[in-house]
């Protein structure tokens, strides 16, 4: 299995949905899209074997992937939508309060350029209620950055470590994220990212504003943040039209393309498992 399939515990969520329990998920015969993406659904620079299936979130991504030469691309919906199916009301919806704010993160190899202080001031000026700031583990581990947000009076959390090369993956990453999202009335970020779509799907009102914090050496292949703003202007702003946002999130997360467990077992190559289960 490609190690990226384990990011954020995606493979674990899919295994649970397929009725394979909480153990170590079997190998997936393909690459699962691991984040919302304006390209072919796969992370640039990752090694891929030709004709190995790409299991993508949305139809739009599938069409785009095909148009850039990918084959064996199939739309299955985002692992987060499978989690929503597993936990439709778990935990029961609490009284939602405040905003969960996701300052844009790069991954470990990238460095965000931007002014956190300026962003904090913008958040304080905009958000009506208490703010929870969710940092990527990389920034959460940077005491300087974390303190900035803590000193602003925000609750600072981290959903966990997404894992790398099968190591230290937090299999409950998405679960923790869903639990947190369901506690908040709003979800916001300085960039349109997976978290915004997850938040909308989890019932939050979305907002995208503030300095998008350009990455150093950001890959411009698919148009970058400028294109995101051009293509999804409806989702940008301190307040956006909720029904429109819900509709777009539904399409981008491929909620309508969520497979049944038997269907997903076939698509992931789990229908005729040869390997022995390893329960750790």
């Amino acid at each position: 299995m490609h190690h990226a399939n384990h990011f954020y515990g995606h493979a674990h969520v899919l295994a649970r949905y397929c009725g394979l329990g909480d153990g170590h998920p079997p190998r997936i015969n393909g690459y699962v899209q691991h984040g919302w993406n304006i390209g072919d659904g796969l992370a640039p620079g990752h090694p891929y074997a030709e004709f190995t299936p790409s299991l993508l979130w949305s139809e739009q991504t599938r069409r785009r992937a095909w148009s850039v030469g990918r084959r064996n691309v199939v739309t299955v919906g985002a692992p987060f939508s499978y989690l929503l199916s597993l936990r439709p009301d778990d935990p029961p919806e609490p009284a939602r309060e405040g905003t969960i704010w996701y300052p844009f993160h790069g991954w470990e190899g990238q460095h965000v350029k931007g002014d956190h202080k300026e962003l904090i001031a913008r958040i304080r000026a905009t958000e009506p209620g208490p703010v929870t700031v969710c940092l990527y583990w990389h920034e959460y581990g940077m005491r300087r950055v974390r303190r900035l947000y803590e000193h602003a009076g925000f609750r600072v959390i981290c959903h966990g470590y997404r894992g790398h090369w099968w190591k230290d993956t937090d299999p409950l990453f998405l679960d923790q994220q869903l639990t947190e999202l369901r506690r908040h009335k709003r979800v916001a970020s300085n960039r349109l990212t997976s978290a915004i779509f997850y938040g909308i799907a989890a019932g939050c009102e979305p907002a995208v504003y503030g300095d998008p914090m350009i990455l150093s050496a950001e890959d411009p292949t698919f148009g970058g943040t400028a294109r995101i703003r051009r293509q999804w202007p409806e989702l940008h702003g301190e307040s956006v039209d909720l029904p429109t946002a819900v509709e777009i999130a539904r399409a981008e997360l491929g909620t309508d393309h969520r497979c049944t467990p038997a269907e997903l077992r076939e698509l992931l190559g789990w229908a005729n498992l040869q390997e022995e289960r390893v329960d750790h």
Binding site: N29, F51, T52, N72, D256, H257, C259, E266, L267
Partner: protein, 612 residues
């Protein structure tokens, strides 16, 4: 040849002594052509069969007085033995001045001319036949299509015909003959006839199993009935011949493009010689008008077991089924298992449901990679099946065999197109659905159609996926039961014995997406199967390379971990720690040994206690 036979054969000259034209491929009871001829010929009419025809036609025209004009002497003897009056020779040999109520030239005009004697040409033969037609009489004439489906899929070009019958090759280059129904009508009008209804003949004009009214074919390009009829006729008609491309696909594409009649392999056209105003009234019984509404919209000979020719007739409430001819069910094989399916001609007495064929709608959605439409269609199909199930979740009758190729969809309504295919015993609704989906999946994958799923899915896997889109949680055990049901149904309809059924089930289970489809060996589809195999090899080679690289990287990681463990094992803190926990380790080992001994002692005592 008896004296009586010889008396019935007239030899005006021009006969071919070492020649036979009678068709080798013959349909039961003469097929749709005989059924159409029987409708065109009224009782007591004088009929001229010009050219070679299936002898079964004579049986169907027993109510008329038939004269055969043949060029082959052996054929003449064969037909005279059946009691027909026969003229053997070229068209010039027809008795001068004798006229007929109906002239049938359903083998075309080329087969009327002999190699002997002067050549009349296409127009000359037509002119002679028209002169043999009494005023008010009817001509039924066949014309082959130089660009018909049959020609388009043939591996040999028409201009390289080396058959014995090709002493001249008449083709589209010859302006002396018509090449399409419009030109044919013009020729007929030029010969003084009033052209009428035209039937498109599929899949082979020599043995057409489907005759469809050409104007209806062009007017109803989305008709599920025509879709099924043309596909069935071409798929069954090609057998296991070698062709350039799938004739069934081409025929259905032609239908949808409004070219169903234009690309028909041949046409049968009715024409009438205007009544002579001075000749008084028409003979008793009256000949049918060429645009007679009683003429069927379609006449079809569908697959085994034969139930004769099935007709579709137009009525005030739309199209209706009508069955003519005998109803025959083949004797089951000596060791046949209990039949699970049969055909019931009695079921074909109702309206023909309108709508598009589900198979075509699904194929279209697959090609457009439109999951929403696929989901809607498959859910509709599954819900329709489920709604017909009894309390135990079982389906019987026609719905139990209703695959995607025999269901029409109009809006949200579903209906079995041809309800004569019936299951003898009810089947589980999930098995019925899985059978329909498996058949579709096999045709989709082996047919090489584009679709929205990865190539790693096998036929059973795609069946499960389609089931998921239909909102049903099918598993591989259900799919296996469906394949078993498919083998049993096919075996029953083909009259196979138990061994044949088992063999068929094994073959069906072995169908792979990289196989070419069942049926004719089509170059195009064989090439596509090769391309799929090549892509699969490319995929596996890339996967192997990737796996090797990953293994190398993992082995390196393992070596690093080993080195770390060894380093830590040699450190002072590790040694001190290990020394500190030694008593605990020894105690644990001792406890395990004691537990093992106690268990062994109990095991040995147990049986003895039982013996006491």
């Amino acid at each position: 040849m008896t004296t009586e036979t010889a008396a019935r054969i007239a030899l005006p000259g021009g006969e071919m002594l070492a020649w036979s034209d009678l068709p080798e491929q013959r349909l039961p009871d003469g097929g749709p052509l005989a059924a159409l001829a029987a409708r065109v010929v009224p009782a007591g009419a004088r009929v001229l069969l010009a050219g070679p025809h299936d002898p079964a036609l004579l049986t169907r025209l027993a109510h008329a007085e038939v004269t055969c004009l043949l060029r082959s002497h052996p054929d003449g003897v064969a037909l005279a033995d059946r009691g027909a009056r026969v003229v053997v020779g070229g068209p010039a040999g027809l008795p001068a001045g004798e006229t007929f109520d109906v002239v049938i030239a359903a083998a075309g005009l080329d087969a009327v001319e002999s190699v002997e004697g002067p050549r009349l040409g296409w127009d000359g033969v037509l002119d002679r036949l028209v002169r043999a037609l009494r005023p008010g009489g009817t001509l039924l004439l066949r014309l082959d299509n130089p660009l018909g489906v049959q020609r388009l899929v043939a591996t040999a070009p028409w201009y390289a015909d080396r058959a014995d019958s090709a002493w001249t090759v008449g083709g589209v280059l010859d302006t002396g003959r018509p090449a399409n129904p419009e030109q044919l009508r013009a020729r007929l009008a030029g010969a003084g006839l009033q052209p009428g209804v035209c039937f498109a003949a599929y899949p082979d004009p020599n043995a057409a199993t489907a005759l469809v009214a050409a104007d209806e074919l062009d007017r109803r390009p989305t008709s599920g009935l025509f879709d099924a009829v043309l596909h069935g006729a071409c798929a069954d008609g090609a057998g296991d011949a070698t062709v350039l491309q799938d004739p069934a696909r081409l025929a259905v594409d032609a239908l949808h493009a409004g070219l169903g009649s234009a690309l028909a392999p041949g046409w049968l056209l009715l024409a009438r010689r205007p009544a002579d105003p001075d000749a008084g009234s028409a003979p008793a019984g009256g000949l049918p008008l060429t645009d007679d509404p009683a003429l069927p919209v379609a006449l079809v000979q569908t697959g085994p077991p034969g139930i004769g020719v099935v007709e579709v007739v137009d009525g005030p409430d739309g199209w209706r089924w009508r069955v003519t001819g005998r109803v025959s069910r083949p004797e089951p094989a000596p060791f046949a298992t209990r039949e699970v399916a049969y055909r019931d001609a009695g079921a074909l007495d109702g309206p023909v449901p309108e709508g598009r064929l589900l198979r075509t709608l699904l194929l279209d959605a697959c090609l457009r990679r439109d999951p929403d439409t696929l989901r809607r269609l498959l859910r509709g199909y599954a819900s329709w099946l489920a709604a017909g199930a009894d309390r135990d979740g079982r389906l019987g009758g026609a719905v139990a065999l209703a695959g995607t190729d025999n269901v029409v969809v109009a809006g949200d309504d579903h209906a079995v197109l041809d309800p004569s295919w019936r299951a003898a015993a009810p089947l589980d609704v999930d098995v019925v659905l899985a059978r329909g989906l498996w058949r579709f999946a096999a045709a989709l994958l082996t047919g090489g159609y584009a679709h929205p799923w990865p190539s790693t899915l096998d036929v059973a896997g795609l069946t499960v996926v389609l089931g998921g889109l239909a909102g049903r949680e099918l598993d591989r055990a259900t799919v296996d039961a469906a394949i078993e049901a498919e083998a049993a149904v096919s075996a029953a309809l083909r009259g196979l014995d138990a061994d044949g059924r088992v063999r068929l089930a094994t073959e069906l289970r072995a169908v792979e997406p990289t196989d070419p489809p069942a049926g004719p060996r089509s170059y195009q589809q064989l090439r596509e199967a090769w391309v799929r195999q090549r892509e699969e090899l490319t995929r596996l080679a890339a996967l192997l390379k990737w796996t090797e690289e990953l293994l190398t990287s993992r082995e390196r990681a393992l070596r690093r971990a080993d080195a770390t463990i060894n380093l830590l094992s040699g450190s002072l803190s590790y040694r001190v720690g290990r020394l500190a926990i030694t008593p605990a380790r020894l105690a644990k080992r001792g406890a395990r040994a004691a537990k093992r001994r106690a268990r062994q002692a109990l095991d040995q005592r147990g049986p003895r206690e039982e013996q006491q």
